[in-house]
């Protein structure tokens, strides 16, 4: 039961990263890729109908965490207070950035909202990466299960770290590069002509950077917390995960070079999925590790909520998610294919 809910939360977060990841990536890239207003509108329209739905995975994932592991939710959200609030502000700015820009024809108005959208997307990717870095590194949990982290201390990963230290900054950069590449692959899938070519060039340019930062981050992770390999040692089948990450990276390159846009996009989805699966497999059963003493770790065993609630929850959750996945398949099918300019009834 507890493992099931751990997996469900992990699946929701992974779905969020893969889905919202590409629209965050497009948000970052549109600042650099679109040269004309028409091109920008195309990129916006590529994500316009879906970004809001994608973001719901974050909300549903956060809610599921609240419901299934209240201690983790309470401790993590109050401990990461400042960065979470900044993330919320960025989400607000990003939402109005994409949705309000088309209301006025004025270049100044659009400039403001383009900037809003691009910069908040960029900072969000970095913060998400850093957040994952914090979970992997661990936080100074107190005896009552709470902690509070300042934004930064001395940038080292010692027992009293900040949200940002050298390790979490690396994680943030990995997220930025990975999601920008993911976004470029998605944008290539949705566009034609010169813009399409530019997206594919961007993907090709970002690929070696991603390989490099992925390797650095893996090495850094093992350096700061060698114990993360314990699960891998006791179940060597898990070593398939890094192989799959490497295979996905290879796939992104190969499909991109062949001009197989769909394949390249699926490969970057696969890269993100296996990176997160690898992290989840390494930390389980810990949910939030303590940098002070392992006995203070928050685990699935001490953080879960009541058995009856979890059992009943599993029924409606499965039912509800099956329907939700149905909507997503339907919506993505409706909006499949390349885009062209022309009235679509709304905005962009």
């Amino acid at each position: 039961m507890l493992l099931t809910w751990f997996l469900l939360v992990a699946i929701m977060i992974t779905a969020y990263v893969v889905l919202d990841g590409f629209d965050l990536g497009v948000g970052v890239l549109h600042l650099f890729m679109a040269r004309t207003e028409d091109e920008r509108r195309l990129l916006m329209r590529a994500i316009g109908p879906v970004w809001d739905g994608n973001e719901v995975w974050l909300l549903a994932g956060g809610g599921t965490l609240y419901f299934a592991f209240p201690l983790l939710y309470a401790s993590g959200f109050s401990g990461f207070y400042l960065p979470l609030m900044i993330v919320l502000w960025l989400l607000i700015l990003r939402g109005i950035g994409i949705e309000l820009r088309m209301h006025l024809e004025s270049p100044v108005w659009r400039g403001i909202f383009n900037g809003c959208f691009g910069i908040s997307s960029l900072l969000l990717t970095v913060f998400y990466g850093a957040a994952l870095g914090n979970v992997i590194r661990g936080v100074p949990l107190q005896r009552d299960g709470y902690f509070f982290l300042p934004l930064w201390t001395d940038w080292t990963v010692g027992p009293q770290p900040g949200i940002l230290d050298w390790y979490t900054v690396i994680a943030g950069i990995v997220a930025l590069v990975a999601l920008a590449l993911h976004g470029a692959n998605y944008a290539a899938l949705k566009t034609t002509g010169e813009l399409n070519l530019r997206c594919r060039h961007a993907a090709a340019f970002l690929w070696p950077v991603l390989v490099l930062v992925t390797a650095i981050s893996l090495a850094a992770t093992l350096y700061i917390r060698p114990s993360l390999l314990d699960n891998y040692q006791s179940a060597p089948i898990l070593y398939a995960i890094p192989v799959l990450v490497a295979a996905s990276l290879f796939g992104i390159r190969r499909m991109g070079a062949q001009g197989n846009e769909r394949g390249a996009f699926l490969a970057s989805c696969s890269y993100l999925i296996w990176m997160l699966v690898g992290a989840a497999a390494a930390v389980y059963p810990n949910l939030l590790a303590s940098t002070t003493a392992p006995s203070l770790n928050i685990t699935v065993y001490n953080a879960h909520s009541g058995e009856h609630g979890l059992a009943v929850g599993l029924i409606w959750w499965s039912f509800g998610m099956a329907i939700a996945i149905g909507y997503f398949v339907f919506v993505y099918r409706m909006f499949r294919g390349k885009l062209s300019l022309g009235s679509d009834g709304y905005g962009h």
Binding site: V56, L59, F67, Y81, L82, G309, V312, Y327, S343
Partner: protein, 419 residues
């Protein structure tokens, strides 16, 4: 509106539906971006509350995400962007899905709040953690059913007053007259029903239930400091919490007893019956919130009754003074709804979970006041900005009006103009 269009095939209705869809689009995006933080603020600012109640109120909150947010966000994209790709009927269904999603979402939120007001279907473990014992008991909390009906009537009232005000504005300006009349017609017909239902039965039921379950809250709302048989309703007057009396009272004798118990002589418990530690922490604010809500609710019934009468006599569109009143009523439902929520939440104090967990027990201990103030100021600034943007864009859309625009033709995919 879209439903009317499908039924009558009158392009007027399609035009106005498209117009309201745009207004709704702006409204919705601001609702989404301001709503997202709320789910996280349980954990960030009310960590201890989240830890002990997560197993209970996490339930409706995730159900909201899973059952309503996915529904409304997925179909909103289709509704706003997909008109060309869908049949007319299909497009109507996307609008319906968004509507169903948002109303469902309202219910789950109310279940959460209702549980805090009137906790049901739970046990507490030895270390104080709340656990659900009955899923349906939680979901069908009687408080939630009443509060939901009352709240959704409030939402409808806001909707119809906005629509009526825009209609009145167009008629007074002498532009988009046909559309303005359509707005008024729909708004007044729905409005009279919603305004009456808001007071009776939903408001009435809510009040009686409150009097039974939170009598101290009821006494504070009414400014009833001492127990009285044949208790009056104070219509106007300023509560003086120190000397425990109402200054300059304008009262309706025995009405409160009648409203709660159906008998003019029934005894209503005053604040003096309860220990001071259980009194709502801010009695004057609670009293005013409640009186603003109830006063405006009464005003809405009067306005809508007069409008409905004029509509029935066929004189509404020519009666300028009534149109002026409808126009000026625009901000009032927003105020009434806010006051209503303040009544509910201030009235619940000093409890987070009524009777079980006090407010000072629930906050995040490790988040110090400086951090809270920092983020509070940040949110205030950002929300002020959003408010300005909303007013600016809504004004622009309304001034621009429901004009004929190139409408994507469903069959050919090429833009054509609907006459």
């Amino acid at each position: 509106m879209k439903s009317l269009y499908l039924r009558t095939d009158n392009p007027l209705y399609n035009r106005v539906a498209r117009f309201w869809a745009k207004v709704f689009g702006v409204n919705f995006v601001l609702g989404v971006v301001t709503g997202i933080p709320m789910e996280f603020q349980f954990g960030t600012n009310w960590a201890e509350f989240s830890r002990v109640t997560g197993g209970v109120i996490g339930q409706p909150l995730v159900m909201e995400g899973v059952f309503s947010f996915f529904l409304e966000s997925a179909f909103l994209g289709l509704f706003l962007y997909g008109e060309r790709r869908l049949s007319r009927r299909g497009h109507w269904w996307t609008a319906f899905a968004v509507f169903a999603g948002s109303w469902l979402s309202g219910y789950f939120i109310i279940v959460t709040d209702a549980w805090m007001q009137y906790p049901v279907a739970f046990t507490r473990t030895a270390d104080g953690i709340f656990q659900v014992t009955s899923f349906w008991g939680l979901l069908l909390n009687p408080w939630a059913l009443i509060q939901y009906a009352h709240n959704m009537c409030g939402a409808l009232i806001t909707g119809v007053f906005v629509m009526a005000a825009v209609g009145a504005y167009y008629l007074l300006e002498g532009k988009f007259v046909e559309e303005g009349r359509a707005f008024l017609r729909v708004a007044v017909i729905v409005g009279i029903i919603a305004c009456i239902a808001q007071i009776f039965p939903t408001g009435d039921l809510h009040g009686r239930f409150l009097a039974a379950k939170q009598p101290v809250t009821m006494a504070a709302m009414e400014g009833l400091f001492k127990t009285e048989a044949g208790a009056p309703v104070v219509i106007l007057g300023q509560p003086d919490a120190e000397s425990q009396r109402i200054d300059n009272p304008l009262i309706a004798s025995r009405v409160l007893s009648f409203l709660i118990y159906g008998a003019t002589t029934a005894q209503v418990k005053g604040l003096n019956e309860f220990p001071k530690t259980d009194w709502p922490t801010n009695i004057p604010l609670l009293y005013y919130s409640y009186h603003i809500m109830a006063g405006l609710g009464t005003l809405f019934v009067l306005v809508m009754t007069a409008s409905a009468f004029l509509l029935w006599r066929g004189r509404l569109y020519q009666t300028d003074w009534m149109l002026w009143i409808l126009l000026l009523c625009l901000p009032l439902p927003y105020i009434a709804n806010t006051a209503g929520w303040m009544t509910a939440e201030i009235g619940r104090q000093p409890w987070l979970v009524y009777g079980h967990m006090r407010t000072p027990e629930g906050y995040s201990k490790y988040v110090h006041a400086g951090n809270s103030l920092f983020t509070l100021l940040g949110f205030m600034g950002l929300y002020a900005l959003l408010a300005i943007l909303f007013l600016f864009l809504a004004h622009r859309l309304i001034a621009h009006g429901p004009v004929e625009e190139p409408v994507p033709d469903i069959t050919s995919g090429a833009p054509v103009t609907v006459a």
